[in-house]
Each structure stands twice: as structure tokens, then as C-alpha cells.
């Protein structure tokens, strides 16, 4: 199933007039956003503009105060994060949220949790009840390990691997859940050019091979222009521009928000 075939006009995610306040602080307000199937959707904005709050509203950590969030045609506003995950949303975190004491393999296996049914009796009778499930899921995990070229560090502890690889492991953990919507929160922060190119390639391949839709938060404009189909720019929690990347980044308000406007004396 090619990306072109998939990217019809069926929305995977719709945000309607989403607002989230923390006390008197309005973190996000009046955001309308639609991500279609097979699309890579960019979300940009200066620090503190509400990008992460918006993803937290989608994934259920901070349910919106007003507005609706619709996933695959179902209203998921206010649904708990673990249920949102089970409905097919996976994400990575800005500051990494891997489990340091566990191996790379176990971390990625955790990504399969939504497809597994672990329990006490199954664990006690491992050989008969848990092993078939573990092995079947291991095969899916190995596919992703192969896809993201993580074979050589499979058994390493996450603690001991470099940051670029950690980001890749987190992507693997998100992808292995076979999500409909993948939210990547600054997957390329702190990476060099080569690592960025690798990551961009992985995201494009993930869409092409797995038909996943992506919400990508990034500060690297070259990446946004390079791989996003459409994008949205936020500033102070409000939408300032949306559309095709090449147009959005030339929007005077986006330029002002990001770079600032010179004041002639």
C-alpha cells in the first residue's frame, strides 16, 4: 500500500477548537487541525508556543478544557493516555522516555504491550501460556529492529548508548505498536546533519512501508520543508498559519514569531 494510495482525504486526527488552560495561563487556544491518512504533518512554533501541550491534549495527559479531539472518527476527548495508546496513537518524547535499566530489546518489546495480554498466571506458566505470545511479538520487534538498523545494540542497556541511537530506539518502540498516528516530539533535537538525514529517511520509509500518519514537531525548518506535506505554526498558543510548508514559512507572521522583525530607527 503506497503512500499516495493512502493519502486520500480520510482524516486520522481532527482537533476542533482545542483550548487548554493551566490556571490563568492559556497554553493552547482555538486550534483546528486535521491530519489525513498517510500524511506527514509538521507542527512548529517558538519555545512555549504550545506544541507539546497540544500533543499532550491529544494523547490524554492534559485533556482540553474546550474543544474536541477526534481519532479515526471517534471522539477521544478526555480519554486516559493508556486507552488512547490502545486506540492506535504512539508518540516519542522531547526529552526521551526510555527505561534506562532495561535493554534496547526489552524497551522495544514494551512497545508491543497494546498487542499483548500479560498476566500473573501466564507468567507463572511461562512455557505454556506466555512463551508463544512473547515469541510472536518478538518477531514483529525484530522486523522493526531490522528496519531501523538496531541489530548491533539489541542487547545493550539503554543507559549506555549515544543519544542519536536512543532517539532511534524510541522511534522503534513507537513504531512497533503499529500505530495509526505517530507523534514525534522533536525527534531530531541535538542531532548532527547526518543523523538528521537518517531520521528523516526513517520517517519517510515508515510512512511508505507501514502507512502510518505522522505528526512531527520540529525546529529544523529544512526537515519540515523536506518531508512534511502540510504544517501548522503556533505562537502563544494560537494558530498563526497553516498549509503547505513552503507557503507557511514565508508567512510574515511566522517569520516574525521565529526570527523577529527589524525595527528601523
Amino acid at each position: 500500500m503506497s503512500a499516495e494510495h493512502q493519502s486520500g482525504k480520510t482524516p486520522v486526527l481532527e482537533c476542533r477548537n482545542v483550548e487548554r488552560r493551566f490556571g490563568g495561563l492559556v497554553a493552547v487556544t482555538g486550534v483546528d487541525m486535521t491530519i489525513n491518512r498517510g500524511e506527514i504533518f509538521g507542527l512548529v512554533g517558538p519555545n512555549g508556543s504550545g506544541k507539546t501541550t497540544l500533543t499532550n491534549a491529544i494523547t490524554g495527559f492534559y485533556p482540553p478544557n474546550t474543544g474536541q479531539i477526534i481519532l479515526d472518527g471517534k471522539d477521544i476527548t478526555g480519554t486516559k493516555p493508556h486507552k488512547v495508546a490502545a486506540m492506535g496513537v504512539a508518540r516519542t518524547f522531547q526529552n526521551l522516555a526510555l527505561f534506562n535499566g532495561m535493554s534496547v530489546l526489552d524497551n522495544i518489546l514494551l512497545g508491543r504491550h497494546v498487542h499483548m495480554n500479560p498476566g500473573v498466571i501466564r507468567t507463572a506458566l511461562y512455557w505454556w501460556l506466555a512463551r508463544p505470545e512473547e515469541i510472536a511479538n518478538r518477531e514483529v520487534v525484530e522486523e522493526i529492529i531490522d528496519f531501523l538498523q538496531l541489530e548491533s545494540i539489541r542487547n545493550e542497556l539503554v543507559d549506555g548508548i549515544p543519544i542519536g541511537l536512543k532517539k532511534r530506539v524510541e522511534l522503534a518502540r513507537a513504531l512497533v505498536a503499529e500505530p495509526h498516528l505517530l507523534i514525534l516530539d522533536e525527534p531530531m533535537a541535538g542531532m548532527n546533519q547526518e543523523e538528521k538525514e537518517y531520521m528523516a529517511r526513517f520517517i519517510l520509509d515508515a510512512r511508505a512501508e507501514r502507512g502510518v500518519s505522522v505528526l512531527l514537531i520540529e525546529h529544523h525548518m529544512d526537515v519540515i520543508i523536506g518531508i512534511c506535506d502540510r504544517m501548522l505554526a503556533l505562537n502563544y498558543g494560537e494558530m498563526i498559519a497553516t498549509g503547505v510548508p513552503s507557503e507557511v514559512i514565508n508567512d510574515p507572521r511566522v517569520v516574525e514569531a521565529y526570527i523577529g522583525v527589524g525595527h528601523d530607527a
Partner: protein
Amino acid sequence: MFYRLSGVRHSSYVSDRRMFQVPADRNAVIILLMIGLAAPFLIPSLYLNSYVLPWLIWTAAVLGLNLVTGWAGQLHLGYAAVMAVGAYSAVHAARFGIPWEFALLIGGLSSSVIGSLFAFTALRVKGLYLALTTLAMQFVMDWVLTHSPTITGGSHASLQSPPFALLGQEITSDAGLYYVALGWCILVTIFMLNLKRTGLGRAWVAVREKDFAAAILGVNSFYYKLVAFAASSFIAGVTGAILVATFYFLAAPEQFAVNVSIQVLAMVIIGGLGSIIGSYMGAALILLMPGVVNQVFSAFAGLIGLELSIETLAHIPNAAYGALIVIFLMVEPLGLGKLYANIRDYLMIWPFDQLKK
């Protein structure tokens, strides 16, 4: 050296996930198991039943607490109370005429029910608050035990445990009782070893380390914490029942008082949170060390011709024992299990240390 990993090649996921990856570990476990089985013929029954048997039972208890504290990361200060529930229900069931197999099961299940009912309310708070709430459970249970004659036979009373029997066969010999303790300890150990390679163990570690990351992976932290309390309480209940049936022979409230809870927690922490071999070591240290230190001191005093009063002899070992715990934890905060793991990791590549990554 002894623990060589080279030459270990897995050709299937099944063998990649076997319990002991390193052949040397596997051999060591087999040897230890054989020693365990042969122990009644090797060790005088006085030592067997007053040291080895309680050590095995307490190890099972420590593993159960390690499950909830080491794996799922929930501090539990009311563990002895949960053991008491299991012990009293099992003894009452046995006195009622129910065969011991089912009495043990009843003990485990009632502990599990009480433990998870309690956890259901207590888990609304986290960390130190949870620790204090579990301590409250301990005090409630102490009060209930000393104030309800129908359960305990009244305060300061003890409840005689009927002779232990399995499959209709009465077990009264020292060796027989020892094998019961050994069997239960092995069962619990196998369960804990399986945790290291199943989704349940991974989910608990996820809840312990980062609950927000666990949630986004679809792990319902409240549910898994509850399951941890239920499973741990089951182990505690059966262990408490076995403790009474094979070691104390009667149940009394002070056997499950608050100091016992603290002691089991001390075993977990000194052994190492989340470490299985550490649980064995922690239980051994806390149980056996006072006696050993005592003997070392009196032997040493005798050697240099020092006359120690009974009073001094009773107090010095306590101080030394406390100091030992402090020293162990300063050398390796992650416990004896980690200390062992360090040595093992070192030997794994010795003498080619430069290969270390």
C-alpha cells in the same frame, strides 16, 4: 573466565529467552539445586531446621515483597500484616479439617483479596504517602489480631497449627518440613525469574521507572500496581502459612508485628531492589548475621582473654550488625545482589578487561 559468553549462539528466540543465558550460571544453579536437595543428608538437622529452613521461607517472603517494591516500585511497610492474613486463614482452614494444600491456597487467596482491597484505596497516593498508608494497614492488622479472640484466641494467645500434611501424607520429619520450604522457595523463584522475560515484568518496570511513558505505551499503571499488590500478597499469604506450619507450629500476633515488616523490607533493600539472588543474600544476612557476629565476638574475646559480661555480649553484636548494614549499603547502594553482579561481570571478561566497552 568461568562465566564465558563467547561461543553462546542462539538460533531461535526460544533459546535467546531461556532462563540462564550463561552456561556457567546454569551449571551453578544445577549444583546449588543438588546441594539443596541433599541438604538433609549433609547438614545436621538442628542447623537445617533452625537456620536453613527459615532462611528459605524468609527468602520466599523477601521475593514477594521485592515483587511489589523492587519490580513495581511501590514501597510497602505492611507486608507482615499480609503474611498474617494468609497464616491465620490457612491455620483456621486446616483446623477446620480442610487439607493443607487447599488451606495454603485459601491463605494465599485471602491475603491476595485483603492486600488488593487495601491497595485499591491506598494506591490513590504515591511514594512516601503510600509507604505510610501501608504502615497504617500494619497497625490496623495488629489491632485486629490482638482484639479479636475468634481469630487469634485473644491477646497473648497463640493458635496451634495442625500437623502439616500434603496429599494425605502427614509431614513431621525435619527433612520433610525442609523440603516443603525448599519447594515453595523454588516455585516463587521460578516465578520471579519468569518475570524477567514476560510482558508483566516489563510493564511493572515501566510503571516503576516512568509512569507517563508507561501510559503512552498503553500500560494502565493503576491496574498493574493493583496486580502487583495482589500477586505479592498471594506469595506473602502462602509464605506466612508455611512459616507457621513448618517452623513456628503455632500462630501468634507478634510473629507478624510491625518490626517483622521492617525486617523484611531491610532484607529487600540490603539484598537489592529487583534482584533475585540478592533476595537470598539479604535474607541470609539479616537472619544469620546476628548469630554469626555474636559467635565471632565471643570467640575473639576468648582469644585475647577478655571477660565480657552477658550484657556487653548482647549489645556489641547489635551495634556491629548495624554497622555492617551501613557499610554494605555504602559500598554498594544497590545491595548485595549488585555486589555479586559486579564480581560476575568482572569475571565474565577477565583477563581481557580491555575488551570492556
